[in-house]
Amino acid sequence: MPDRAFALRAGRHLGPTVVAAVILLGYAFTNPGTTDLALGVNIGVAAIAAVGLTLTIGGAGQLALGQAGFMAIGAYGTSYLMLDREMAFLPALFLGVVLALVVGVLVGYIALRLHGHYLAMATLAVGTGIHAFLMLPGPLGGANGYAPIPFPEIFGYKLLDPRDQYLLVAVTLVLVLLGSRWLLAARMGRELAALRDDEVAARAVGVNITARKVQIFAISAAIGALAGGVNAPLQTAIDPSLFSTAISIQLFVMVILGGLGNIYGAVFGAALVTWLIAEVPGSGSWALTVLGVVVVVFMAVLPDGLSGVARIGRALLARVARRGPGSGATITEVSK
């Protein structure tokens, strides 16, 4: 029985991500066009950052609005180490993520004393501060941007081909989904859920609020930095506009559209928002207008976000099943 229970737990944790991995990675081998792969990269990068944000907002109930700032730390950190220090991609990415982790710890400590709107404003200020810092003229290029960042090279293989670039992002997204799913299902995830639902009660039952808040902010920041750090060398140039307050708000919208606390929903949200912005005909202004309407409609019709679609579908199926005469269950019994 313990083996079966373990298998069930492992399946519950791994199953959805494995399915997602098969489809995400398999897509690269269905002969997609370069344009599709480029859009896939943009969706994947946004999805990674949105999943990280979901852990903070949905997992722990901490309203954080500065995720683009952490993406910037990862992007600029990785790029600076690759371009100015001629470091290889993977170590540069690792150090960029570690830097964001450290900043995330600091923000986590700030979060200890703040709640709700005040926390939202504080994290927004952190993101805005990072953006403002990057705008300053200096070795990071200021508003002119930072380039030319070398294409990523892994174990001597340069990722020039659009499919390779897509696969890098897809693999990173799958790993992030896997880690996040494990984290939410583990003891830490349950403690975060307790913290989200009632901080006082969570403290009363022994949850270390300080540690958990700091940890989740650090992890979220690190995942955001991972998104930025993977994307920067693929684009070969970055500038502060990629990490503005507007981008932080877009990431928040992705999390909301996906359904708070659901990491797969966040991927949905990222796909929807990124696709809208890239593909709505006319121009970018129209895309944002349409996005605004979509958000309003979602809040009215699907307050649980895209992940709520699955719940509605299951409820409908259950209703249909209840109405059926005899139902499949009886037949199953007879067949036995």
Partner: protein
């Protein structure tokens, strides 16, 4: 537990399907761009977003050029057609848009973008995909060393040198600078400061301004209080430039006010006020004050079509289409390789100067191509050189 498994599996499948479906929104098609009765030219531009004004001006210039060329019979008997992608000022969308044009629309030449970071992001792609690219940024270092990338704008550094040279000719020994805190203005600040140092002009004050604001009395006051012989203004290409000029004039400053090419925009007199506009001398790529025949024809046509004078950005975009048309005319085939060779061999005489490219130099004309322009009673005028 099984229910939970099913629930998460369903969500995961839907997630993956969503990504797949969205990624399948468009697929590569075998669009021909050099056959039939048209030549399709790709454009990556930022017509929306924070710097949307830049792209909108460029779009107008390109539109006019295409209309004129097509009205005159096109090129080699075929019409020109622009296939435009709006990157919204985002580097991510610039690279995606370029790849779309190169692999889906299959254009052999792309014009734009006009924003620094976006241009830097696509320059390597032009060589990778064998597509000729004409950038609308004033940073030759982005295009130099590439195989297929060229620039039309006069280098920003050359604009700065022209401003400093003008100040020196007028006898300035000290100067202050007020610059827009955006890509263009930041580069201008650095270039003007370096050029002034080389010319022996002492920079006594340097102030950045946010182009999104409306009040610049603090920056203007500090610059004027330093009592320099000249104040350099490096703008953002928007109405804030005029407001900075207005604030500087309001301090009662009596020295030279020398603006970059952004200060040759036709809205300067209206927004800054006549008195302020009359005081600024802009070193600009378009000879608004004393246009030759070709330039005058362009200025008149633009005004007739859009009801305003063309900005320098519009002019660069206009020239980029003319350069493309000349390259198509000369190239034996409509391919990136042949168009690049043709552009390099053209030595194209344009209304912003001679576009002479070599394998090493891919930037626009040099500092000599800048012309001093001012305003008198709201109209363009040649400044008093005394």
């Amino acid at each position: 537990m099984r229910a939970a498994m099913r629930r998460h599996a369903a969500i995961a499948v839907m997630t993956a399907l969503a990504v797949t479906v969205t990624a399948c929104g468009s697929s590569d098609s075998d669009t021909s761009d050099g056959s039939g009765d048209t030549y399709t030219i790709g454009v990556v531009n930022s017509t929306t977003g924070a710097l949307g004004a830049v792209g909108q001006q460029e779009a107008k210039g390109m539109q006019l050029a295409v209309e004129e060329i097509n009205a005159a019979g096109g090129v080699k008997g075929r019409k020109l057609k622009l296939e435009e992608v709006d990157d919204q000022g985002s580097v991510n969308l610039t690279t995606a848009g370029f790849k779309k044009l190169a692999t889906e629309t299959k254009v052999p030449i792309v014009l734009g973008p006009g924003i620094s970071a976006n241009a830097k992001a696509v320059a390597p792609l032009a060589d990778q995909y064998g597509v000729t690219q004409i950038l609308l940024v004033a940073q030759p270092e982005v295009a130099n060393g590439t195989k297929h990338v060229f620039e039309v704008p006069l280098p920003g550094k050359a604009n700065s040198e022209a401003m400093v040279n003008y100040a020196k000719e007028q006898g300035a020994k000290s100067a202050a600078i007020i610059w827009a805190n955006n890509p263009y203005g930041q580069a201008g600040n650095t270039d003007v400061t370096n050029a002034a140092k080389a010319a022996g002009i002492d920079i006594v004050n340097s102030e950045g301004f946010d182009p999104g604001k409306f009040d610049f009395t603090a920056q203007a006051g500090k610059a004027a209080a330093a009592d320099p012989d000249a104040i350099f203004l490096y703008g953002a290409g928007g109405s804030s430039d005029a407001l900075v000029l207005k604030n500087v004039a309001a301090t009662g400053y009596e020295g030279l006010i020398i603006g970059d090419l952004a200060y040759s925009s036709d809205f300067i007199p209206e927004t800054a006020g006549g008195n302020a506009a009359d005081k600024v001398v802009s070193l600009t790529a378009v000879d608004y004050g004393n246009p030759d025949e070709k330039t005058k024809k362009f200025l008149d046509a633009y005004k007739a079509k859009f009801g305003e004078a063309p900005s320098v950005l519009s002019t660069y975009a206009y020239v980029s289409v003319q350069l493309t048309a000349a390259a198509i005319e000369k190239a034996p085939e409509y391919t990136g390789e042949e168009l690049s060779k043709a552009i390099e061999s053209l030595n194209f005489e344009s209304i912003v100067g001679k576009l002479a490219y070599t394998p090493e130099w891919r930037g626009g004309p040099n500092a000599d191509a800048f012309k001093p322009v001012t305003f008198k009673n709201g109209e363009y005028a040649v400044p008093n050189q005394g």
